[in-house]
């Protein structure tokens, strides 16, 4: 499971869905797959990121700390169709690309801090099925 996906998911238990997403990775084994970098792509992903959640996920998985708040990018200049931006922005977007799209959790589990349910991940696929009594 890619780290960007982790930003879009929550505990399958209904009563957990009204609270702040509280899934944490445990015993995670990471993999990396190279994907073509497009700064414009990342610029358009950034607005949808839940930054506090991404910060937490990155920390759990042992990545260096992300900026305190979601970076604000300056508007892309006329003629900059690829959205390259300044050197500083380019570096930041590359780091986010690597973290969000190229990094995935191959095995381990996701644990809900709210209800304690554990979702196993194996061969890159997370199992979010619930036992019948929790459905």
């Amino acid at each position: 499971m890619k780290l960007l996906t982790a930003n879009f998911i929550t505990c399958s238990v209904k009563s957990c869905q009204s609270v702040t997403p509280a899934l944490s990775f445990r015993d995670a084994e990471l993999a990396r797959e190279e994907i073509d970098f497009s700064p414009l792509f990342l610029r358009n992903i950034l607005p949808r990121i839940d930054w506090p959640l991404l910060q937490r996920t990155a920390k759990e998985l042992g990545f260096p700390a992300l900026p305190e708040t979601k970076p604000e990018l300056s508007p892309i200049a006329e003629g900059d169709e690829e959205g390259v931006g300044s050197e500083e922005e380019q570096k930041l977007l590359k780091e986010l690309h690597s973290l969000l799209l190229e990094t995935s959790v191959q095995s381990g589990k996701l644990v809900c801090a709210n209800c304690g349910h554990e979702y196993p991940i194996s061969q890159g696929i997370a199992n979010f099925l619930l036992p019948n009594h929790l459905v």
Binding site: S38, I45, G124, N127, L129
Partner: protein, 243 residues
Amino acid sequence: MGLPTPDTSHLDSDESIYPPSEDSYLLLDTLSSASESAYLASHFASPSPAPLVLEIGPGSGIVTSFITTFASEIFGRRDVLTLAADVNPAACSGTAQTVGRNLKDAEKGHGIFLDALWVDLDSCLRGGEVDVLVFNPPYVPTESVPVFDENGNCKGESEGMIEAAWAGGKDGMEVTERVLKGLERCLSKRGVAYVLFCAQNRVQEVIGRLEGGEYGRNWKCDIVGRTGKTAGWEKLCIVRITR
């Protein structure tokens, strides 16, 4: 537009996965039709955040693969993120394989496939994130719908996972009903759902209920694709549902 159909031949021998069928092809034709791609390109015009597409029940992955490979042709932009969610773990890995294989020789304008999630419908998705929901449901009327436990084992008599791909319970609508009830939670403010129905699903009545406010709001419905205009039991249509 005549975009090529994704190759799923690597899954031909796997009988636990729903093979590409008339319903899958109708989804491909509809999403890539001139009118629908024009609609999507204007609805999700840049600059705006990258659209997130979720397919529930991808089976072989043919539809998710198509959307990912032809993001630019369908959406007029390539920054399209795709996710798939299936109750069948073989369909999850099969979908990932299909997307990967077909992206290998794709042109530059393709989107990014994120993951296949092993889950009941969209139950692990955060509310309000999905911009495009695509659902080819189990629509065949049956006595019952198979129920799975957390290990994917089925209770009672069942043909197993493949049954989940077609057995739709009463009027073939039991699973679709659950998705329709969850639309208000699942879809983003700009969200669009494409849901496939067969004639026995009484689609006009369903549209009446969707528009009449029985599913959380007065949804706007348009039939945007259909097959078999002569009455046959497998007459299929696709309804586009928006806020």
